[in-house]
Amino acid sequence: MNIFSRTPGVEWNPQDLDDTQPVATTPANSDSDLMTAYPTNCPACQGELGIDSYCLSCGQKAKSLREHFQITPSDWVAGVCDIGLVHVRNEDAMAGIADGFRAVLVACDGVTTSDDSDVASLAAARTACHFLWSQDPQGTGTLASRTEAVGELLTQAVAEANQEVINQTSPTSLNAAASTIAIAIVDSEAVFCASLGDSRVYWIPDDGEPQLLTKDHSLAQDGIDSGAKREDAEASALAHTITKWLGRDATDIEPYLAWMPVTDPGWILVCTDGLWNYASEPTAIKELVGFLDEPTPLALAQYLVAWANEKGGHDNITVVCARVDAGSPTVTALSEATGVVDSETPTISQVLDEEILEEKPTTRTRPIASSNPPDTDDSTPDDEPTDQGQTPSDTQIDDTGEQIPPVKPADD
């Protein structure tokens, strides 16, 4: 049961890269234009650009669209994807599709140490976004049923993205193209997240405690799981080494899944480590968001990207955000019906149980992220890498002969 009507159209900003047209059933193909195209005017002074992409008036070098692009699929959704200051190529990518009620946000981070990773990330972002936009499973009509259905869909979307990465990148490269992916599906009812690698989804409520909704597949996260402080784990040399990724040599593409009912006004941020390297803690991001007074989604994304560049811009930076405005009658009604899950972070299978949901009273103060089940029996060693070598035979063997879980070295 879906009580929302769908508006057929979306708002387009002609200045922006029009890559998000909701052609729902068409798989996203690599847009060769984006890989080489330049904007028509100087981003700094609006002057005419020379054929060498330098402004004829102020001399500023215009970034190619692949190096810097923005999307504003709707007035409550926007994104900025930027090369940063140090890298020579923008291997981040994003995609976003939205109408007045629903949005799909995707951010991907191509792995610098692999070839074609800029192609990989763009293919993954677009494929997943279009795939998810094309389907809006409602389950049996209850939120719990819908959650289960969307969880399956997200897993499928990641698999579709993986296949498209393989299709679009070199099949013989010694460094197979690879990319992370982070996805958020947002509507006035809930936000559903999936991630693979170390790109993230944050929930930044206007009031209340901000949260990281996803969990990285990285050695840093492994460290945190083993009891290290986030700050220390993420500062370690191998922190950015990811343990899951999309691409030809990926061995496990089971995403981390989470969802959260939408009850309060705030921001959903999907971002790559180009941002969170400088503000990993949800409270740090919230502090940044708080510097702006009721920004538009585009202004917020631009601000966060500019801030990351000010901090050094050591990596490509992507921020896709959606403004969730609770307080509209529909949201109120729905949140009253669904309530908020408890703080024990129930699994998707738990939230399947409608009883649990309906028994919970509605509170608007603390939306809680749920997580995927940690006890799924088909989890690969990448989920829980251990030092005991309890890994299946398809894992990599290092020089010492010791078995180690497959990892992707990080940028920098």
Binding site: C58, Q60, K61, L85, E310, G312
Partner: protein, 426 residues
């Protein structure tokens, strides 16, 4: 059809809040073709011979021989004229008093012109301004001329005109034609002749002995005949709010072009470069930009060579602000080399000027610096010529002493050659 290419040598990295970008732009011309035969208009050559009394029999005979060699070297079909100059300017050939003052070279014209030259005799004073103005009128009388070149030979000072008169004449000739100037003997003023040559996009040099004169004329005319591109301009575009600090030709000779600008549009300046043959010239461009945030990349200048409105080649000078000191503290070897060579030229000229005014303290200091720079930049010619004027005690520290008896010719040779630069090795 001539092919132009350009290369930019620079360190584009600027430290935070730095503003000045320096670059060497090398512009190379190939397949220039023969002057007057490349379909872009006719060319004209005028030979100006000093026939003042001071020339005397020996120099005048050498000048006549040289003028005849020049006539032999001028390609048939080229418009030409011969001027005999003393305190007045005479059109020696063609013998016309009105209408077109130049004729096309033919075997007959060559023979007639040689007879005219043979009749030169040494008499009267020197008024080079009047020679230049006559040349200007002669060139102007042929409307089809795209390339205009003259060689001017003199042996003495410009006695019969004031400095202001000469400067006025030079000003009237600016952009009208190019002049290569040569001095014979030691009685002429290097600075005076350099003014003419620099303003009129030519070279200045001394001819030590009369017997060398014919070969020098032949080379000058041959080089001019090899300049198939009759006139080109250096264009420098800089972004809004940027400032061109200077534009210098730094190779093959140092010529400061900064003040010789003509605006093309709000952001672009044009500088004259004259005719081009198969050759390479290096330009040092210095631009001041408003400081931008670290990480910003922008164009500091577009350096182009143009004929009329056609851009033949373009070099991009870039600026990129960086927090990486290992990048921002580097100086481009080419920029460093030519900065040194430019300072070398000034040090020599200033040192010699001080010496001629009896200020040997300044002279010793400047020429010492010159000896140091000549060694640092590997300019062996300058070192050799300096060593004839000063005793170089220690080139590394720039310690020199003025020689007791300096041969005037050596001093002049050092002066005239001071602007010649060496290319960076490698």
């Amino acid at each position: 059809m001539a092919v132009f290419t350009s290369m930019v040598y620079q360190n584009e990295f600027l430290a935070e809040s730095s503003t000045d970008i320096n670059a060497i732009v090398r512009i190379t011309c190939a397949e220039a073709g023969v002057a007057g035969q490349t379909g872009v208009g006719d060319v004209g050559e005028i030979v100006i011979v000093d026939t003042s009394a001071s020339m005397g029999l020996v120099n005048l005979q050498a000048a006549k021989d040289a003028a005849m060699v020049a006539l032999d070297t001028i390609v048939d079909g080229t418009y030409f004229a011969i001027i005999a100059g003393n305190h007045r300017a005479y059109l020696a050939y063609p013998r016309v008093t009105s209408g077109p003052g130049m004729v096309r070279m033919t075997p007959e014209a060559r023979a007639e012109a040689k007879r005219a030259v043979a009749g030169f005799r040494a008499d009267g004073g020197t008024a080079m301004g009047s020679w230049l103005l006559l040349a200007r009128s002669l060139f102007a009388s042929i409307t089809s001329l795209a390339g205009k070149h003259a060689i001017l030979l003199t042996d003495g000072e410009n006695h019969n005109e004031s400095a202001t008169q000469l400067e006025n004449s030079i000003r009237q000739c600016l952009g009208q034609f190019q002049v290569d100037c040569r001095g014979i003997g030691i009685e002429w003023q290097v600075s005076e002749i350099r003014k003419i040559a620099t303003a009129l996009l030519g070279t200045v040099d001394m001819i030590p002995t009369a017997k060398d004169l014919p070969i020098v004329f032949q080379e000058l005319i041959a080089r001019s005949m090899g300049r198939g591109v009759p006139d080109a301009q250096l264009r420098v575009w800089v972004p809004q709010n940027a400032q061109i600090l200077f534009v210098r030709q730094v190779s093959p000779t140092v010529e400061d072009l900064t003040q010789r600008r003509t605006p093309v549009d709000a952001l672009t300046m044009s500088y004259p470069t004259g005719a081009w043959g198969d050759e390479a010239r290096d330009y040092h461009i210095s631009v001041r930009l408003p400081a931008k945030a670290v990480g910003t990349e922008q164009l500091a200048a577009r350096v182009q060579l143009a004929t009329g409105t056609a851009i033949l080649t373009q070099g991009l000078v870039k600026a990129k602000w960086s927090a990486n000191a290992s990048l921002t503290t580097q100086i481009s070897p080419e920029v460093a080399h030519y900065t040194g060579q430019t300072e070398l030229a000034s040090a020599i000229q200033e040192g010699l000027a001080a010496h001629s005014q009896g200020d040997d303290r300044t002279a010793t200091q400047k020429l010492g610096r010159a000896a140091q720079l000549a060694q640092e930049t590997g300019n062996k010619e300058a070192t050799t010529r300096l060593a004839k004027v000063v005793d170089i005690d220690d080139a590394a520290t720039g310690k020199v002493t003025m020689k007791k008896n300096i041969d005037k010719a050596d001093e002049m040779a050092l002066d005239t050659s001071s602007t010649r630069t060496t290319r960076i090795r490698g």
